[in-house]
Symmetry: C2
Subunit: 442 residues, 2 copies
């Protein structure tokens, strides 16, 4: 017999966990649609040269091969599983460029695969829940605020505790580093240093920045810990000795700040934070990360930002974009483990029709069908078991009501309804069944 064990890195849930996971996916989807984003799905597979067009990801790519491929067969050799949803989006926009309306607001919620070496906490298959707005030639910075506001509303609706969206602008950061004497050709390295600022001691960061040419590394560092609010931090940015890059970045950041307030995002939910850099190449303006206040060790649960050029590798069109992503697969088991969400949820129907008498099965089925026609989730146990066992099963499935129809009830067109939450029983007629059940389920 084939041995059955879990495959490391490929999560799988029992029905109750799956239900909560799917409900969270539905909440995300609902909010994405509320803001006018429309869904796309791309195949799990892209060409390898598409996936590696931006370079650097070879290690993570799972290529396909037909198990029964003939020697020298070529047709599948160039296919591999996507490792994110951004490269597929770029390919999609390039391929269907003329058939899309701009700004193109799309959401995409699919698994992605990364060929990582198996180790604890590393997923080799995980869902990404992405939103992006893609412009044609231009895209106002207001869309950056919309993405962040939407991420705020969505995570808020997930009801997983307080969180803070940490917000910055890459141009402002670069301009600030220039203002503190980091030479042009060291900016990229300095951003890497800032990216690590929370992982290393302050002295190490200061030393690194000094080595990169800053004569004011200490002052620069205190700047990352200003004891003030968003307005104060924005003002500090504005008050810095100017350069064009800085001014452009600060102006964008100001627009985003004001738009977030117009979009009802409370000041307590976001923080302008110059230490947010988001890696090196991709982002060109707004960048953000999101942390749960009480669970910072989980790292960022949603991040994203503005990029100048989505499809440059695939097309000569100029399509700037801004996007965000919620990484639900990594987050979900931690939320369960820490008791932030409960997986003690019903997995069965609301109403459980018991099997009191095998010969009455057509009657039970008919009653169940009546309830379903009224939109009530109903299941029928279609094999008589001991009553206790039936109640246990209904309880395990989380059904709310059990219908009991023995010979007497059937002859008098009555139904006994047992409330599985409090154990109370009541009788009703078949004619009143639907309205009684509906009121009990309210």
């Amino acid at each position: 017999m084939a041995k059955i064990t879990a495959i490391s890195g490929f999560p799988e849930y029992l029905p109750a966990e799956q239900k909560v996971f799917s409900q969270m996916m539905d909440t995300i989807r609902h909010h994405y649609e509320l803001y006018g984003f429309s869904q796309i799905e791309t195949p799990a597979v892209e060409r390898i040269d598409t996936l590696s067009a931006k370079g650097g990801n070879e290690k993570e790519i799972y290529a396909l091969r037909r198990l029964a491929a003939q020697e020298g067969e070529k047709d599948e050799k160039d296919l591999a599983l996507h490792f994110d949803l951004t490269v597929p989006l770029a390919r999609y926009v390039a391929q269907h460029y003329g058939q899309l309306s701009y700004p193109f607001k799309r959401y995409q919620m699919q698994p992605v695969w990364r060929g990582e070496r198996p180790q604890a906490g590393r997923y080799r298959q995980f869902y990404q829940c992405d939103i992006d707005v893609i412009g044609n030639e231009s895209l106002p910075v207001y869309y950056d605020a919309e993405i962040i506001a939407l991420i705020y509303k969505t995570i808020k609706a997930l009801n997983i505790g307080d969180f803070v969206i940490r917000l910055n602008n890459r141009k402002a950061l670069q301009g600030m580093l220039s203002a503190f004497d980091i030479p042009e050709d060291k900016i990229a390295q300095a951003i890497k240093v800032i990216d690590d600022i929370e992982k290393v001691p302050a002295e190490t960061t200061a030393e690194r920045l000094t080595n990169l040419g800053s004569s004011q590394a200490e002052e620069l560092l205190t700047w990352f810990n200003l004891d003030t609010d968003n307005f104060g931090r924005l003002k500090a940015y504005k008050d810095l000795d100017g350069n064009d890059m800085l001014e452009e970045g600060v102006s964008e950041l100001t627009t985003v700040y004001e738009a977030l307030l117009a979009l009802d995002v409370p000041e307590s939910a976001f923080k302008i934070d110059p230490a947010i850099a988001r890696g090196l190449d991709y982002y060109t303006g707004t960048v953000y990360e999101t942390n749960l206040v009480e669970h910072k060790d989980l790292g960022s649960i949603s991040s994203g930002g503005r990029y100048q050029d989505l499809i440059g590798k695939f097309s000569n069109k100029n399509c700037p974009g801004v996007g965000g992503s919620i990484g639900l697969t990594r987050l979900f088991p931690e939320l369960v483990k820490r008791g932030i969400i409960s997986i003690d949820v019903p997995v069965g129907a609301d109403v459980f029709v018991t099997a009191m008498d095998d010969s009455q099965m057509p009657h039970y089925i008919k009653i169940a069908e009546k309830l379903r026609n009224a939109g009530i989730k109903t299941e029928v146990l279609m094999e008589k078991k001991k009553f206790d066992k039936q109640m246990k099963l209904a309880d395990k499935k989380g059904c709310k009501l059990a219908l009991i129809m023995g010979e007497d009830e059937i002859n008098s067109q009555q139904v006994t309804i047992k409330n599985l939450t409090d154990g109370q029983q009541q009788s009703t007629t078949e004619a009143d069944l639907i309205s009684t059940v509906k009121s009990l389920l309210k």
Copy 2:
């Protein structure tokens, strides 16, 4: 630049098509849940020895390899993409056996992959929408009827025209073949002949059955074309010279027939059809296929049946089951091509807030947010364009209402609402906006 062309066999939709496809998936999911089925998802990947435990599918299997795998690296060598959802279900039940409640009613809607040679109409990635009920030791035949009734309700709700579920029982078929002198050791071959009955001339079938030992091949053949109704066909089955296998099968078929009527499935929607055989090995009792009445050339759009032993390859538990599947990916483009479903659907929000004045953007955003807080799907164009262009965009996205707020309107707290369906305009106050929009969207 990387060349961008579609990859044969991996379907991808534009937003409007995707929306209709997703709505159909939602309809299916809704009905599956209405009958008390709970969702599971299994990873895209299984071990190769799991996938090939039942044998015969090697050709279709896409195995994975890490693109950057080291020479001699072994850890990924045994992983491959699932080619259906039945083998993963069997593995899931075997792996989580003790943690599930029986009968275990699960649905699963995921893509599967088959490493077919590219050719027209062949999909290498497609969605399956499966339901199965898995028993522990036993499972009454009533569940067979429930599966078929649920498939009926679901396809009916998809609103894709008249269809007929063709229903049979493998035991009844086998018993009938015995009754017509096919010897025990030729039954499997005879079932293959019946499976092909619609593809070859009647004489060929008669000749084949004669060659397999039947002395009454002509009579047997007329039997497949009885000019009668379901009751008549069931009676004909019952009236055949008996054997145990036949009696058992006919008894099951009778139970299914009566339960389908109790479940409100109209006689016109299903047909007891002795020519339905469904291949060779897997099914052991009830079998069904489904055809669109006006589009028989599409082949079966949903099929399934009863199997004696789901997990025998992975466990020594005895788990009989019954299931059905809707193959939406293959069906969908044909429904579109034949005009059975329309993809002329809105892909944007219901309300489109126009950009009349860039300096008023925070006001537009605020208004939009108010509508969203009332649950109304709303998008804001955040870059001023010519009014005509804005109307075209809103129309292309299928938005229903456009809000227009110039300086005058804003100063007097008014909003002009343009109905994009009939072009009518009306004015309302900001205070009345939500109620006005809601009544216009009704």
